[in-house]
Amino acid sequence: MSVAADAKNVVERPPPRARGWPRSRIVGYVLIGVWVAAGGGIVAYLAFAWNSELFAKYGPSYLQGLGVTLSLVGISIVLGAILSLPVAYARMSKNRVLSGLAYCYVYFFRGTPLLVQTFLVYYGVGSFKPQLEMVGLWGFFREAFNCGVFAFALNTAAYQAEILRGAIESVPRGQWEGAASLGLHKLQTLWKIILPQALVVALRPYGNELILMIKASAIVAIITVYDLMGMAKLTYARTFDIQAYIWVAVVYLVIVEVLRHAIEWIERRITIHLKR
Protein backbone atom coordinates (compact mmCIF):
# COMPACT_ATOMS: atom_id res chain seq x y z
CA MET A 1 0.00 0.00 0.00
CA SER A 2 2.57 2.48 1.13
CA VAL A 3 4.92 1.45 -1.66
CA ALA A 4 2.26 2.24 -4.26
CA ALA A 5 1.56 5.58 -2.61
CA ASP A 6 5.27 6.37 -2.60
CA ALA A 7 5.61 5.42 -6.24
CA LYS A 8 2.76 7.77 -7.04
CA ASN A 9 4.43 10.59 -5.19
CA VAL A 10 7.66 10.27 -7.11
CA VAL A 11 7.33 12.87 -9.83
CA GLU A 12 10.05 14.07 -12.05
CA ARG A 13 10.61 17.63 -10.93
CA PRO A 14 12.51 20.16 -12.95
CA PRO A 15 15.98 20.76 -11.56
CA PRO A 16 16.10 23.56 -8.97
CA ARG A 17 17.02 26.94 -10.37
CA ALA A 18 20.66 27.75 -10.14
CA ARG A 19 21.53 30.01 -7.26
CA GLY A 20 24.03 32.82 -7.18
CA TRP A 21 25.54 34.14 -10.37
CA PRO A 22 26.31 31.46 -12.94
CA ARG A 23 27.84 32.69 -16.16
CA SER A 24 24.60 32.45 -18.16
CA ARG A 25 22.82 34.71 -15.68
CA ILE A 26 25.54 37.36 -15.86
CA VAL A 27 25.42 37.28 -19.66
CA GLY A 28 21.61 37.40 -19.62
CA TYR A 29 21.48 40.39 -17.28
CA VAL A 30 24.12 42.20 -19.32
CA LEU A 31 22.20 41.60 -22.56
CA ILE A 32 18.93 42.73 -21.00
CA GLY A 33 20.81 45.76 -19.75
CA VAL A 34 21.92 46.44 -23.33
CA TRP A 35 18.34 46.17 -24.59
CA VAL A 36 17.04 48.42 -21.82
CA ALA A 37 19.77 50.95 -22.58
CA ALA A 38 19.02 50.82 -26.32
CA GLY A 39 15.26 51.09 -25.77
CA GLY A 40 15.68 53.82 -23.19
CA GLY A 41 18.07 55.63 -25.50
CA ILE A 42 15.57 55.58 -28.34
CA VAL A 43 12.70 56.71 -26.10
CA ALA A 44 14.88 59.44 -24.62
CA TYR A 45 15.94 60.53 -28.08
CA LEU A 46 12.34 60.63 -29.29
CA ALA A 47 11.30 62.61 -26.21
CA PHE A 48 14.27 64.95 -26.56
CA ALA A 49 13.74 65.47 -30.26
CA TRP A 50 9.96 65.74 -29.92
CA ASN A 51 8.73 68.37 -32.29
CA SER A 52 4.96 68.78 -32.22
CA GLU A 53 5.05 71.00 -35.29
CA LEU A 54 6.76 68.26 -37.28
CA PHE A 55 4.38 65.69 -35.87
CA ALA A 56 1.32 67.74 -36.81
CA LYS A 57 2.73 68.22 -40.29
CA TYR A 58 3.74 64.64 -41.07
CA GLY A 59 1.54 62.59 -38.70
CA PRO A 60 -1.51 62.64 -41.00
CA SER A 61 0.61 61.67 -44.01
CA TYR A 62 1.85 58.63 -42.08
CA LEU A 63 -1.76 57.60 -41.49
CA GLN A 64 -2.45 58.07 -45.18
CA GLY A 65 0.62 55.97 -45.97
CA LEU A 66 -0.61 53.28 -43.61
CA GLY A 67 -3.86 53.23 -45.58
CA VAL A 68 -1.95 52.83 -48.83
CA THR A 69 0.14 49.99 -47.39
CA LEU A 70 -2.89 48.14 -46.06
CA SER A 71 -4.88 48.51 -49.26
CA LEU A 72 -1.90 47.46 -51.38
CA VAL A 73 -1.39 44.33 -49.29
CA GLY A 74 -5.13 43.62 -49.05
CA ILE A 75 -5.75 43.88 -52.78
CA SER A 76 -2.69 41.87 -53.75
CA ILE A 77 -3.37 39.13 -51.20
CA VAL A 78 -6.94 38.70 -52.46
CA LEU A 79 -5.93 38.81 -56.14
CA GLY A 80 -3.08 36.44 -55.38
CA ALA A 81 -5.44 34.03 -53.64
CA ILE A 82 -7.70 33.96 -56.68
CA LEU A 83 -4.76 33.52 -59.04
CA SER A 84 -3.23 30.81 -56.85
CA LEU A 85 -6.20 28.47 -57.42
CA PRO A 86 -5.45 27.66 -61.08
CA VAL A 87 -1.71 27.59 -60.36
CA ALA A 88 -2.14 25.10 -57.52
CA TYR A 89 -4.51 23.06 -59.70
CA ALA A 90 -2.01 22.98 -62.55
CA ARG A 91 0.82 22.14 -60.17
CA MET A 92 -1.07 19.09 -58.89
CA SER A 93 -2.40 17.97 -62.27
CA LYS A 94 -1.16 14.78 -63.88
CA ASN A 95 -0.60 16.58 -67.19
CA ARG A 96 3.17 16.98 -67.45
CA VAL A 97 3.03 20.16 -69.54
CA LEU A 98 0.57 21.86 -67.21
CA SER A 99 2.42 20.95 -64.03
CA GLY A 100 5.74 21.90 -65.63
CA LEU A 101 4.43 25.32 -66.54
CA ALA A 102 3.08 25.86 -63.03
CA TYR A 103 6.41 24.70 -61.59
CA CYS A 104 8.28 27.24 -63.73
CA TYR A 105 5.92 30.00 -62.64
CA VAL A 106 6.39 29.17 -58.98
CA TYR A 107 10.15 28.74 -59.37
CA PHE A 108 10.54 32.11 -61.07
CA PHE A 109 8.56 34.06 -58.51
CA ARG A 110 10.12 32.32 -55.54
CA GLY A 111 13.63 32.33 -56.95
CA THR A 112 13.98 36.00 -57.78
CA PRO A 113 13.81 38.95 -55.37
CA LEU A 114 10.48 40.74 -55.15
CA LEU A 115 12.35 43.99 -55.76
CA VAL A 116 13.53 42.70 -59.15
CA GLN A 117 10.01 41.62 -60.03
CA THR A 118 8.64 45.00 -59.03
CA PHE A 119 11.27 46.80 -61.14
CA LEU A 120 10.56 44.44 -64.02
CA VAL A 121 6.92 45.50 -63.94
CA TYR A 122 7.34 49.18 -63.10
CA TYR A 123 10.26 50.05 -65.38
CA GLY A 124 9.93 47.11 -67.76
CA VAL A 125 6.43 47.85 -69.03
CA GLY A 126 7.86 50.97 -70.66
CA SER A 127 9.40 48.69 -73.28
CA PHE A 128 5.90 47.56 -74.30
CA LYS A 129 4.30 50.99 -74.37
CA PRO A 130 2.96 50.78 -77.97
CA GLN A 131 1.47 47.34 -77.48
CA LEU A 132 -0.08 48.29 -74.14
CA GLU A 133 -1.51 51.47 -75.59
CA MET A 134 -3.06 49.40 -78.33
CA VAL A 135 -4.95 47.20 -75.84
CA GLY A 136 -5.69 50.18 -73.61
CA LEU A 137 -3.76 48.99 -70.56
CA TRP A 138 -1.15 51.75 -70.57
CA GLY A 139 -3.21 53.90 -68.24
CA PHE A 140 -3.24 51.07 -65.73
CA PHE A 141 0.51 50.49 -65.76
CA ARG A 142 1.38 54.17 -65.64
CA GLU A 143 0.36 54.26 -61.98
CA ALA A 144 3.13 53.05 -59.68
CA PHE A 145 0.54 51.72 -57.23
CA ASN A 146 -1.01 49.47 -59.87
CA CYS A 147 2.40 48.17 -60.89
CA GLY A 148 3.08 47.35 -57.25
CA VAL A 149 -0.23 45.51 -56.91
CA PHE A 150 0.44 43.63 -60.17
CA ALA A 151 3.90 42.46 -59.11
CA PHE A 152 2.85 41.64 -55.55
CA ALA A 153 -0.24 39.69 -56.66
CA LEU A 154 1.80 37.58 -59.09
CA ASN A 155 4.43 37.00 -56.43
CA THR A 156 2.07 36.05 -53.63
CA ALA A 157 0.07 33.83 -56.00
CA ALA A 158 3.17 31.65 -56.42
CA TYR A 159 3.68 31.36 -52.66
CA GLN A 160 -0.01 30.83 -51.94
CA ALA A 161 -0.25 28.14 -54.62
CA GLU A 162 2.52 26.23 -52.86
CA ILE A 163 0.80 26.68 -49.48
CA LEU A 164 -2.49 25.44 -50.90
CA ARG A 165 -0.84 22.48 -52.61
CA GLY A 166 1.06 21.52 -49.48
CA ALA A 167 -2.08 21.74 -47.38
CA ILE A 168 -4.20 19.68 -49.79
CA GLU A 169 -1.50 17.05 -50.10
CA SER A 170 -1.19 16.87 -46.30
CA VAL A 171 -4.70 15.38 -46.15
CA PRO A 172 -4.34 11.59 -46.35
CA ARG A 173 -5.40 9.85 -49.57
CA GLY A 174 -7.84 7.72 -47.64
CA GLN A 175 -10.06 10.76 -47.21
CA TRP A 176 -10.47 11.02 -50.99
CA GLU A 177 -11.12 7.30 -51.27
CA GLY A 178 -13.59 7.31 -48.40
CA ALA A 179 -15.53 10.14 -49.97
CA ALA A 180 -15.49 8.41 -53.35
CA SER A 181 -16.85 5.23 -51.81
CA LEU A 182 -19.69 7.26 -50.29
CA GLY A 183 -20.53 8.45 -53.79
CA LEU A 184 -19.40 12.07 -53.49
CA HIS A 185 -17.95 13.49 -56.65
CA LYS A 186 -14.59 15.22 -56.78
CA LEU A 187 -15.73 18.78 -56.25
CA GLN A 188 -17.96 17.84 -53.34
CA THR A 189 -15.10 15.89 -51.77
CA LEU A 190 -12.76 18.84 -52.15
CA TRP A 191 -15.24 21.33 -50.76
CA LYS A 192 -16.75 19.31 -47.90
CA ILE A 193 -13.95 17.01 -46.83
CA ILE A 194 -10.52 18.02 -48.01
CA LEU A 195 -10.57 21.80 -47.71
CA PRO A 196 -11.85 21.98 -44.10
CA GLN A 197 -8.95 19.76 -43.05
CA ALA A 198 -6.42 21.40 -45.35
CA LEU A 199 -7.22 24.94 -44.24
CA VAL A 200 -6.42 24.10 -40.62
CA VAL A 201 -2.95 23.11 -41.80
CA ALA A 202 -2.72 26.11 -44.12
CA LEU A 203 -3.68 28.77 -41.59
CA ARG A 204 -0.20 29.31 -40.19
CA PRO A 205 1.58 29.50 -43.56
CA TYR A 206 -1.13 31.83 -44.84
CA GLY A 207 -0.64 34.02 -41.80
CA ASN A 208 3.10 34.04 -42.35
CA GLU A 209 2.56 34.98 -45.98
CA LEU A 210 0.35 37.90 -44.90
CA ILE A 211 3.05 39.11 -42.51
CA LEU A 212 5.74 38.68 -45.17
CA MET A 213 3.65 40.70 -47.62
CA ILE A 214 3.19 43.54 -45.15
CA LYS A 215 6.93 43.61 -44.56
CA ALA A 216 7.74 43.29 -48.24
CA SER A 217 5.29 46.06 -49.14
CA ALA A 218 7.87 48.55 -47.83
CA ILE A 219 9.78 48.15 -51.10
CA VAL A 220 7.09 49.87 -53.16
CA ALA A 221 8.45 53.06 -51.60
CA ILE A 222 11.36 52.65 -54.04
CA ILE A 223 9.05 52.85 -57.05
CA THR A 224 7.60 56.14 -55.76
CA VAL A 225 4.43 54.81 -54.13
CA TYR A 226 3.71 56.82 -50.99
CA ASP A 227 2.95 53.99 -48.64
CA LEU A 228 4.03 54.01 -45.00
CA MET A 229 7.68 53.58 -45.95
CA GLY A 230 7.35 56.06 -48.81
CA MET A 231 6.05 58.69 -46.41
CA ALA A 232 8.98 57.98 -44.08
CA LYS A 233 11.40 58.40 -46.99
CA LEU A 234 9.74 61.66 -47.96
CA THR A 235 9.86 62.96 -44.40
CA TYR A 236 13.51 61.99 -44.07
CA ALA A 237 14.40 63.61 -47.36
CA ARG A 238 12.79 66.88 -46.23
CA THR A 239 13.94 67.00 -42.60
CA PHE A 240 17.03 64.73 -42.37
CA ASP A 241 15.55 63.56 -39.09
CA ILE A 242 16.16 59.90 -38.25
CA GLN A 243 12.91 59.98 -36.21
CA ALA A 244 11.11 59.47 -39.51
CA TYR A 245 12.45 55.92 -39.75
CA ILE A 246 12.18 55.16 -36.03
CA TRP A 247 8.46 55.94 -36.01
CA VAL A 248 7.83 53.91 -39.13
CA ALA A 249 9.74 50.99 -37.60
CA VAL A 250 7.52 51.19 -34.52
CA VAL A 251 4.37 51.15 -36.65
CA TYR A 252 5.51 48.13 -38.68
CA LEU A 253 6.54 46.28 -35.53
CA VAL A 254 3.16 46.89 -33.93
CA ILE A 255 1.26 45.71 -37.03
CA VAL A 256 3.33 42.56 -37.34
CA GLU A 257 3.09 41.69 -33.65
CA VAL A 258 -0.67 42.23 -33.55
CA LEU A 259 -1.11 40.03 -36.63
CA ARG A 260 1.18 37.34 -35.27
CA HIS A 261 -0.73 37.11 -32.02
CA ALA A 262 -4.08 37.20 -33.80
CA ILE A 263 -3.03 34.28 -36.00
CA GLU A 264 -1.84 32.31 -32.99
CA TRP A 265 -5.16 32.97 -31.26
CA ILE A 266 -7.17 31.82 -34.29
CA GLU A 267 -5.02 28.73 -34.61
CA ARG A 268 -5.60 27.84 -30.96
CA ARG A 269 -9.35 28.29 -31.48
CA ILE A 270 -9.68 26.17 -34.60
CA THR A 271 -7.49 23.31 -33.41
CA ILE A 272 -9.33 22.83 -30.11
CA HIS A 273 -10.88 19.61 -31.40
CA LEU A 274 -7.42 18.20 -32.17
CA LYS A 275 -6.13 18.61 -28.60
CA ARG A 276 -6.24 15.66 -26.29
Binding site: P15, R17, A18, P22, S24, R25, V27, G28, Y29, L31, I32, V34, W35, Y107, F108, G111, T112, P113, L114, L115, V116, Q117, F119, L120, Y123, G124, V125, G126, S127, F128, I214, K215, A216, S217, A218, I219, A221, I222, M229, A232, K233, Y236, I242, Y245, I246, V248, A249, Y252, L253, V256, E257, R260
Partner: protein
Protein backbone atom coordinates in the same frame (compact mmCIF):
# COMPACT_ATOMS: atom_id res chain seq x y z
CA UNK B 1 21.59 54.33 -82.93
CA UNK B 2 19.46 51.26 -82.34
CA UNK B 3 21.81 48.57 -81.16
CA UNK B 4 20.89 44.96 -81.46
CA UNK B 5 20.06 43.01 -78.33
CA UNK B 6 23.16 40.86 -78.78
CA UNK B 7 25.48 43.86 -78.86
CA UNK B 8 23.89 45.14 -75.69
CA UNK B 9 24.37 41.81 -74.00
CA UNK B 10 27.94 41.30 -75.16
CA UNK B 11 31.10 41.43 -73.09
CA UNK B 12 33.19 44.56 -73.48
CA UNK B 13 32.84 48.31 -73.96
CA UNK B 14 29.68 48.13 -76.12
CA UNK B 15 27.89 45.50 -74.13
CA UNK B 16 26.72 45.45 -70.56
CA UNK B 17 27.33 41.83 -69.68
CA UNK B 18 30.66 42.55 -67.98
CA UNK B 19 29.05 45.22 -65.77
CA UNK B 20 26.25 42.90 -64.79
CA UNK B 21 28.71 40.08 -64.15
CA UNK B 22 30.68 42.30 -61.78
CA UNK B 23 27.39 43.12 -60.06
CA UNK B 24 26.63 39.42 -59.75
CA UNK B 25 30.07 38.91 -58.20
CA UNK B 26 29.27 41.60 -55.61
CA UNK B 27 25.94 39.90 -54.88
CA UNK B 28 27.62 36.54 -54.30
CA UNK B 29 30.43 38.10 -52.23
CA UNK B 30 27.97 39.97 -50.06
CA UNK B 31 25.88 36.85 -49.42
CA UNK B 32 28.96 34.70 -48.75
CA UNK B 33 30.49 37.31 -46.42
CA UNK B 34 27.22 37.57 -44.50
CA UNK B 35 26.69 33.83 -44.10
CA UNK B 36 29.31 32.96 -41.43
CA UNK B 37 28.47 36.03 -39.32
CA UNK B 38 24.76 35.34 -39.53
CA UNK B 39 25.18 31.65 -38.74
CA UNK B 40 27.32 32.40 -35.68
CA UNK B 41 24.96 35.03 -34.28
CA UNK B 42 21.96 32.83 -35.06
CA UNK B 43 23.50 29.88 -33.25
CA UNK B 44 24.19 31.87 -30.11
CA UNK B 45 20.73 33.47 -30.17
CA UNK B 46 19.21 29.98 -30.39
CA UNK B 47 21.43 28.89 -27.50
CA UNK B 48 20.09 31.82 -25.50
CA UNK B 49 16.49 30.98 -26.41
CA UNK B 50 16.70 27.44 -25.10
CA UNK B 51 18.71 28.38 -22.03
CA UNK B 52 17.36 27.69 -18.55
CA UNK B 53 18.20 31.22 -17.52
CA UNK B 54 15.07 33.39 -18.00
CA UNK B 55 16.94 36.66 -18.54
CA UNK B 56 18.91 35.12 -21.40
CA UNK B 57 15.71 33.80 -22.97
CA UNK B 58 14.04 37.21 -22.77
CA UNK B 59 17.06 38.97 -24.30
CA UNK B 60 17.18 36.48 -27.19
CA UNK B 61 13.43 36.70 -27.78
CA UNK B 62 13.53 40.49 -27.95
CA UNK B 63 16.20 40.17 -30.64
CA UNK B 64 14.18 37.86 -32.89
CA UNK B 65 10.91 39.70 -32.30
CA UNK B 66 12.41 43.00 -33.41
CA UNK B 67 14.40 41.82 -36.38
CA UNK B 68 11.80 39.41 -37.72
CA UNK B 69 9.09 42.00 -37.27
CA UNK B 70 10.78 44.91 -39.02
CA UNK B 71 10.70 45.08 -42.82
CA UNK B 72 14.19 44.42 -44.18
CA UNK B 73 14.20 47.79 -45.91
CA UNK B 74 13.37 49.65 -42.69
CA UNK B 75 16.17 47.84 -40.85
CA UNK B 76 18.56 48.71 -43.65
CA UNK B 77 17.63 52.40 -43.64
CA UNK B 78 17.72 52.60 -39.84
CA UNK B 79 21.24 51.22 -39.76
CA UNK B 80 22.46 53.03 -42.85
CA UNK B 81 21.21 56.46 -41.78
CA UNK B 82 21.06 56.02 -38.01
CA UNK B 83 24.28 54.06 -37.48
CA UNK B 84 26.58 56.89 -38.62
CA UNK B 85 24.76 59.34 -36.31
CA UNK B 86 25.47 57.19 -33.26
CA UNK B 87 29.03 56.41 -34.37
CA UNK B 88 29.72 60.05 -35.04
CA UNK B 89 28.34 61.03 -31.66
CA UNK B 90 30.56 58.47 -29.94
CA UNK B 91 33.68 59.32 -31.92
CA UNK B 92 33.27 63.05 -31.49
CA UNK B 93 33.57 62.50 -27.76
CA UNK B 94 37.18 61.55 -28.47
CA UNK B 95 38.04 63.36 -31.70
CA UNK B 96 35.78 66.36 -32.26
CA UNK B 97 36.35 66.89 -35.99
CA UNK B 98 36.06 63.32 -37.25
CA UNK B 99 33.46 62.46 -39.90
CA UNK B 100 31.99 59.08 -40.63
CA UNK B 101 31.43 57.59 -44.03
CA UNK B 102 29.52 54.34 -44.19
CA UNK B 103 30.47 51.77 -46.74
CA UNK B 104 27.32 50.35 -48.36
CA UNK B 105 28.87 46.88 -48.49
CA UNK B 106 29.64 46.84 -44.77
CA UNK B 107 26.27 48.35 -43.82
CA UNK B 108 24.51 45.78 -46.01
CA UNK B 109 26.57 43.00 -44.52
CA UNK B 110 25.69 43.99 -40.95
CA UNK B 111 21.99 44.39 -41.67
CA UNK B 112 21.71 41.17 -43.68
CA UNK B 113 23.64 39.26 -41.00
CA UNK B 114 21.23 40.52 -38.35
CA UNK B 115 18.15 39.58 -40.37
CA UNK B 116 19.62 36.22 -41.40
CA UNK B 117 20.55 35.40 -37.81
CA UNK B 118 17.06 36.21 -36.53
CA UNK B 119 15.56 33.68 -38.95
CA UNK B 120 18.37 31.13 -38.59
CA UNK B 121 18.00 31.18 -34.80
CA UNK B 122 14.46 29.83 -35.17
CA UNK B 123 15.79 27.01 -37.35
CA UNK B 124 18.55 26.23 -34.87
CA UNK B 125 16.06 26.36 -31.99
CA UNK B 126 13.76 23.76 -33.51
CA UNK B 127 16.79 21.61 -34.32
CA UNK B 128 17.93 21.89 -30.68
CA UNK B 129 14.50 20.73 -29.59
CA UNK B 130 14.69 17.72 -31.90
CA UNK B 131 17.81 16.43 -30.14
CA UNK B 132 16.89 14.23 -27.17
CA UNK B 133 18.13 15.19 -23.72
CA UNK B 134 19.81 11.81 -23.46
CA UNK B 135 22.46 12.98 -25.91
CA UNK B 136 23.63 15.66 -23.47
CA UNK B 137 23.40 13.25 -20.54
CA UNK B 138 25.35 10.62 -22.46
CA UNK B 139 28.03 13.20 -23.21
CA UNK B 140 28.32 14.19 -19.55
CA UNK B 141 28.26 10.53 -18.50
CA UNK B 142 31.40 9.75 -20.50
CA UNK B 143 33.08 12.72 -18.89
CA UNK B 144 32.87 15.40 -21.57
CA UNK B 145 32.55 19.00 -20.47
CA UNK B 146 29.67 21.22 -21.63
CA UNK B 147 31.76 22.69 -24.43
CA UNK B 148 32.99 19.30 -25.57
CA UNK B 149 29.48 17.83 -25.53
CA UNK B 150 28.30 20.76 -27.63
CA UNK B 151 31.09 20.42 -30.17
CA UNK B 152 31.44 16.66 -30.45
CA UNK B 153 27.94 15.35 -29.75
CA UNK B 154 25.32 18.01 -30.33
CA UNK B 155 26.67 20.14 -33.19
CA UNK B 156 27.11 17.31 -35.72
CA UNK B 157 23.51 16.25 -35.21
CA UNK B 158 22.30 19.84 -35.10
CA UNK B 159 23.83 20.67 -38.47
CA UNK B 160 22.16 17.68 -40.08
CA UNK B 161 18.71 18.52 -38.67
CA UNK B 162 18.93 22.26 -39.28
CA UNK B 163 20.33 22.04 -42.81
CA UNK B 164 17.08 22.15 -44.83
CA UNK B 165 15.86 25.14 -42.82
CA UNK B 166 19.18 26.91 -43.20
CA UNK B 167 19.00 26.32 -46.95
CA UNK B 168 15.78 28.35 -47.03
CA UNK B 169 17.43 31.08 -44.98
CA UNK B 170 20.33 31.15 -47.45
CA UNK B 171 17.96 31.53 -50.41
CA UNK B 172 16.17 34.44 -48.80
CA UNK B 173 19.54 35.98 -47.90
CA UNK B 174 20.54 35.75 -51.55
CA UNK B 175 17.34 37.54 -52.54
CA UNK B 176 17.61 40.13 -49.78
CA UNK B 177 21.00 41.26 -51.09
CA UNK B 178 19.09 43.05 -53.87
CA UNK B 179 17.78 45.49 -51.24
CA UNK B 180 21.27 46.83 -50.61
CA UNK B 181 21.20 48.28 -54.14
CA UNK B 182 18.86 50.92 -52.69
CA UNK B 183 21.66 52.43 -50.60
CA UNK B 184 24.02 52.47 -53.55
CA UNK B 185 25.90 49.18 -53.59
CA UNK B 186 26.78 48.26 -57.19
CA UNK B 187 25.35 44.75 -57.14
CA UNK B 188 23.35 42.91 -59.80
CA UNK B 189 20.15 44.91 -59.61
CA UNK B 190 21.86 48.29 -59.51
CA UNK B 191 24.13 47.46 -62.44
CA UNK B 192 21.12 46.23 -64.40
CA UNK B 193 19.30 49.42 -63.48
CA UNK B 194 22.16 51.56 -64.78
CA UNK B 195 22.24 49.60 -68.02
CA UNK B 196 18.47 49.91 -68.34
CA UNK B 197 18.55 53.66 -67.80
CA UNK B 198 21.36 54.26 -70.29
CA UNK B 199 20.08 52.01 -73.07
CA UNK B 200 16.32 52.40 -72.44
CA UNK B 201 15.96 48.63 -72.77
CA UNK B 202 14.40 48.38 -69.33
CA UNK B 203 12.58 45.09 -69.66
CA UNK B 204 15.60 43.38 -71.17
CA UNK B 205 18.02 44.36 -68.44
CA UNK B 206 15.73 43.72 -65.49
CA UNK B 207 15.02 40.31 -67.02
CA UNK B 208 18.77 39.73 -67.09
CA UNK B 209 18.91 40.66 -63.39
CA UNK B 210 16.09 38.20 -62.67
CA UNK B 211 17.95 35.55 -64.68
CA UNK B 212 21.11 36.13 -62.64
CA UNK B 213 19.20 35.55 -59.41
CA UNK B 214 17.55 32.44 -60.87
CA UNK B 215 20.92 31.06 -61.92
CA UNK B 216 22.33 31.73 -58.45
CA UNK B 217 19.35 29.92 -56.93
CA UNK B 218 19.89 26.93 -59.23
CA UNK B 219 23.63 26.83 -58.46
CA UNK B 220 22.99 26.97 -54.73
CA UNK B 221 20.41 24.20 -54.97
CA UNK B 222 23.07 22.01 -56.61
CA UNK B 223 25.59 22.95 -53.93
CA UNK B 224 23.20 22.35 -51.04
CA UNK B 225 22.14 19.06 -52.61
CA UNK B 226 25.77 17.91 -52.65
CA UNK B 227 26.29 19.03 -49.03
CA UNK B 228 23.13 17.28 -47.95
CA UNK B 229 24.22 14.04 -49.63
CA UNK B 230 27.57 14.13 -47.89
CA UNK B 231 25.85 14.82 -44.56
CA UNK B 232 23.51 11.89 -45.12
CA UNK B 233 26.45 9.65 -46.02
CA UNK B 234 28.20 10.55 -42.81
CA UNK B 235 24.99 9.78 -40.98
CA UNK B 236 24.73 6.34 -42.58
CA UNK B 237 28.35 5.47 -41.84
CA UNK B 238 27.94 5.82 -38.09
Amino acid sequence: MQQSVWTLLSWGPDGWLDDIASGAAVTVLLALATLPIGLTIGFFVALGKQSEEPSLRIAANIYTTIFRGLPELVTLFLFFFGGPLILQYLIRLVRPEATIDVNAFVAGMIVLAIIFSAYASEVFLSAFRAIPKGQYEGGYAVGLSYGQTMRKVILPQLVRIAFPGLENCWLSLLKDTSLVSVVGLAETLRQAGVAARVTKHTFLFFSVAAAVFLILAVISSFATGAIQRSLAQRDARR
